[in-house]
Amino acid sequence: MNLEDILLKQFGFNTFRPGQKEVIESLLRGKDTLAMLPTGSGKSLCYQFPAYVLKKSVLIVSPLLSLMQDQAEQLKMRGEKSVITLNSFLTYEKKREAIEHLDSYRFIYLSPEMLAIPRIIERLQKLEIGLFVIDEAHCISQWGYDFRTDYLNLGNVRSILNNPLTLALTATATKTVQTDIKDKLKLEQPKEVITSVDRSNIAYMVEEFSSYDEKLKRLMQLVNSFDGAAIIYFSSKKAAESVATFLQENGVKNIDYYHGGMEQEQRMLIQQQFLRGQLRIICATSAFGMGVNKNNVRVVIHFHLPQGMEAYLQEIGRAGRDGLQSVAILLYCDGDEGLPLHLVEQQLPTNYQIEQTCASLHEVGIWNIEPKLEIDLREMYTLTDVQWRWITHYVKEFEQEEPLLITEKLKQIAQTRRVENQTKLERFFRWIAVEDCRRENILSYFDVMLTEKNQTCCDRCGVVTEELLEILPHDEQAGRALKKTWKQELAAILIGEAKNIEEQTS
């Protein structure tokens, strides 16, 4: 069978998308591969496909639990049953059970912290690993967007697992970050498949306003001028909630909000309502997105500025995954820079937080932290999850040094990072103001050349939002209305022959 046959048989697709075949061929030749393909271009297929040829387990490391679960569910939807996600939320019992039968799974999703557990590593050492995949590989680089300290361990893990065939995937890595990924993962002369980061079917639009009210008014106008699905990004939970409510109150139908502060079950409901078309528009924080694979999101609007170029590309990358014309609209108001600046400032722990936490950690010893103490310390010094892991990571790394020196080093690293984050943001602010083609400007940031240019490129190339919204593909919004009475609804769900019941109960 040639590759195209397998593609059709296993995935039901007729052709590979750009880059996919090259990556797969490289892996099948046994070569470690670093692939940078744009968002929504089908990176998952690059590791799913080889599984059916190699006939050994594929291990996938993914930064977020929700992302992992989304991808596992998507595989299962395709009919693939042999999937497991290992994460710290499994009960001990279930974890043990799963670990015992690990070799019976074709796809094993793991969060990076699972790879720090000796028991799991031991088990993995005995497993025949066909392919080791690092998804969202830019998370390994502290120069990259969304740096995660627990990704740093992956290079070691790779060695311990005896250097299995490795695939690093990302959509957004600058040259520096690409080099860093190879370094940290200890990839020696991997095959590199770097296609453009560009999403040619997404038009890039920026609109400027002189006041918040104007911006809000424009948002309302926008959501009423197309009928497809949309995501509106905000940088705070509160804003996402209040703008969603505002739009609801002003008659916008099928719109709701989503953010990390909501309970798991409620979040899942919103996400699935959106996937099904029961909701048309989601007002969200960046917590929404990563794993969400809805093909026909037509519009992504930013009501607030993102945290940089990479973040922006990831977020607008939710649009047009079916390849059809879509649009990203950034609404900018003078002074909007303040909020993201403040947010990146807050991502890293302050000097005070570093000093206090380090002192406490030193007292008990970095390796003796009980969950209870973690909760207490985090509450005492109001440390976010990321800040906590950041501090403990570096304290462990510098363990051999004098306590005071450690504290100083951490403060220094934090300071350097803060400056870098600011520089990144400023680079993005410049993009807002650029006078030439926005697409070319984005590409230059990633050191890639523009190969093909779509007619509907960006506002600087003459695209007008209104005209574009009008020609966007239309979509039926699905979702069944509730039945008249509770009993009819219950019958529609559980029996299906709702007719009979309607007669019985009306």
Partner: protein, 356 residues
Amino acid sequence: MQNYFDMIVLDCIRIINGERSVYAILHMLKGKKSSQTIQDVHLFGLTKLLGTLPDLTRRQLEITVDHLLQSGLISTLPQNGYYMITSIGQELLKQHLDKYPFPETLNGFRFQNRTQTYWSRLSLLIQTISHIIHKQNRFYPIQRNFQTQTWVKRYLALNRQNRAEIGRHLFDELSMLLEKRPEKERDIFVKRLTGIDRIGSTYSQIAKELDDDEWHVRYLFLGTIHFMLQKMDDTSGEYPYLNSVGKDIQGNSHIQLTNSTQMTLKYLKAGKSLEEISYIRKLKRSTIEDHIVELAYSDPQFNISRFMTPKIAEEIRVASKTSRTKQLRAIKEIVDNSEISYFQIRLVLAKVGDDS
């Protein structure tokens, strides 16, 4: 008051009457597994609310308390900084409670450990059946929890009968139960369900549709689930299908004990005295006392007579009736008998507990 949650907090503050800090309320609503919290809910008659808001944060509570304070509905006690309800607060609370009473079926103490698991299983089972009978075998499960998913798979593997039949039975049993609930509760419950072609609604969506308060919707829903669980306990034979969803969920009184208390219980059963247990376990005497009080609350059969004579028990009982507060100190002053310890008072209170 802005919402139903404010009302709940206000009601708790009224009942606690300046005898605990607001964090005791946090622990109660979150369902903290500690002897202190279990004693508190009994002492103050707040068993229904125990563990009804497991995701509540400290911050949420503090914001609400601030807000109640600023609106003059509560005031601060000078001696300890605890809160008391004001007379305006009383007035407003009464109006609200009349309008939005707690569902009478609410029983956090009894069901908190089963509610979430039961609902997760039931909702995923319903979604699954709904899809299968409509000939759709693939869908995104509404419950992500691995344990829940495995349970549903196993359930369907063990119950091999026709899926349409399972659906029919679930429909019959659910209808029968829901008929016994008020209109609003039925509506909420059904809207929460995910089935073929329709994903269930969130609390906030339902609240908007019914023009109600999100927190209130949440409590009405809990009331329905607690009612169902109660029925399963009392008359499981009448609802075989619904009962089979939850019968193996652990969470009745003994399992609910904190681990340390269970250990103490083991020693007590082995005939060890309080002092001996304290010595063997290298724990302070007061800690063991806490465990014993927790046991007295959790188990109606727990016999306190080995810790005091009947005469002392009676004396305390009388004193606790005369005293208007539940403060131990006040009761101790009334009994005026230096041989009676606080521990003994707490034990007796645990036994008279709820009927006051």
